[in-house]
Symmetry: C2
């Protein structure tokens, strides 16, 4: 509780002027709740009724799907400032995926009815949401193309680069600390033994660095070579 989200900027950059998402939210009537989730806490389960959209104010969240055979795949990991669970707005009655907090999170739960109303009445919200959906779309399309074309080795390289926010201003270079090979395998769509194999290969080549604990460091410049053959 009582996290220091106060420091986070509430103004989210859009095409034109920054919009004050929190102010809009505050103005709306009932239907929203601010919730804090501890790391590893479940936010919603696949198969549950879907009646709300979430906005991630702080922390990281993963979206995962479990197959009938019990295998799990991670279809997205989200950072602060992103929406999720928006499928219900398109009429999905049930969650098609589960959402789990990867770190301590604070998020805003918005009931479907309220979200619909906001999209209908508030231009800025509507525009923000369109921007979000466009980015998500581009990311999904990229993931799909990646699957259609590339070997598991290249897919792993790509995931590592994306997790390190390759291309963004902030050259964090460090992947989410504590990410396991199992999780990587679930994102890449392969087995852990394969991930272990390639991680070692990448490490020997100096593309990544990781020692027991302390997360993975990515040399984006070098690793990106893998993608281009």
């Amino acid at each position: 509780m009582a996290s220091k989200t106060g420091k986070e900027t509430k103004k989210i950059r859009l095409g034109r002027q920054p919009i004050d998402w929190e102010a809009h939210l505050a103005r709306m009537g009932t239907g929203k709740t601010v919730i804090e989730y501890g790391a590893n806490r479940n936010i919603f389960w696949q198969g549950e009724p879907a009646d709300s959209v979430f906005f991630l104010r702080k922390g990281k969240v993963k979206i995962a799907v479990t197959s009938q055979q019990g295998k799990e795949a991670i279809v997205a990991t989200l950072d602060a400032g992103e929406f999720f669970g928006e499928g219900c707005l398109a009429g999905q009655p049930l969650r098609i995926a589960s959402a789990v907090a990867l770190t301590d999170c604070t998020l805003v739960r918005i009931e479907k009815a309220l979200m619909t109303r906001m999209l209908h009445q508030e231009h800025d919200i509507s525009e923000l949401f369109v921007t979000h959906l466009l980015s998500r779309n581009i990311r999904f399309e990229g993931d799909l193309v990646d699957q259609l074309f590339n070997s598991s080795e290249k897919r792993l390289a790509r995931i590592l680069l994306l997790l390190a926010h390759f291309g963004k201003e902030s050259r964090a270079e460090t992947v989410h600390p504590g990410i396991s090979q199992e999780s990587l395998a679930q994102m890449v769509g392969t087995t852990r033994s394969r991930v272990s194999h390639f991680m070692n290969k990448f490490r020997e080549l100096g593309f990544v660095d990781y020692s027991g604990s302390g997360g993975v460091t990515v040399n984006s410049g070098l690793l990106s070579v893998v993608l281009h053959d």
Copy 2:
């Protein structure tokens, strides 16, 4: 040929009332063009500057990506009533995919600036566009999950079902006539020889029917069994 798409209603169902897309378009100033494309004509190429969004009024269009190695993948096939090329709205300077008319098409080209203006000013358009993006998102997420979990056999089964509009009211049961095994392979993300192999298997089991020419007929009920193991 998909024949009577011309009869499709121009009023597109939204959550609430149907909105008259054409009327909105007509009211806007310059920046839009109605274009007709013959079958197999190219609409835009991957790598080209991206400065407009398209609305498909009639016909079918495929969205394809070519890898550096020259392999082609089909990431989507679109029906009347759908948008495409919307990536530019999120700031993509270049097309990341090519668009090709699969049948004779008529489509509306909307310049990026006009589209932005419409999204900003016209509630109905904005809402329609959000609905489109949500559906597209759900489809991409589904495709991605499919790739992460399933074998090429199941993926082929799924594509055949989707092409036959499985689940929709109109039990057309007939896939786009003249679709080649090569195209199927590019959608599924595998090789033609694999597609040929599974198509024969499906045919022997009575799940599909196809004879030289005349397109593929899908027995959705039977074929969907493949998906559930």
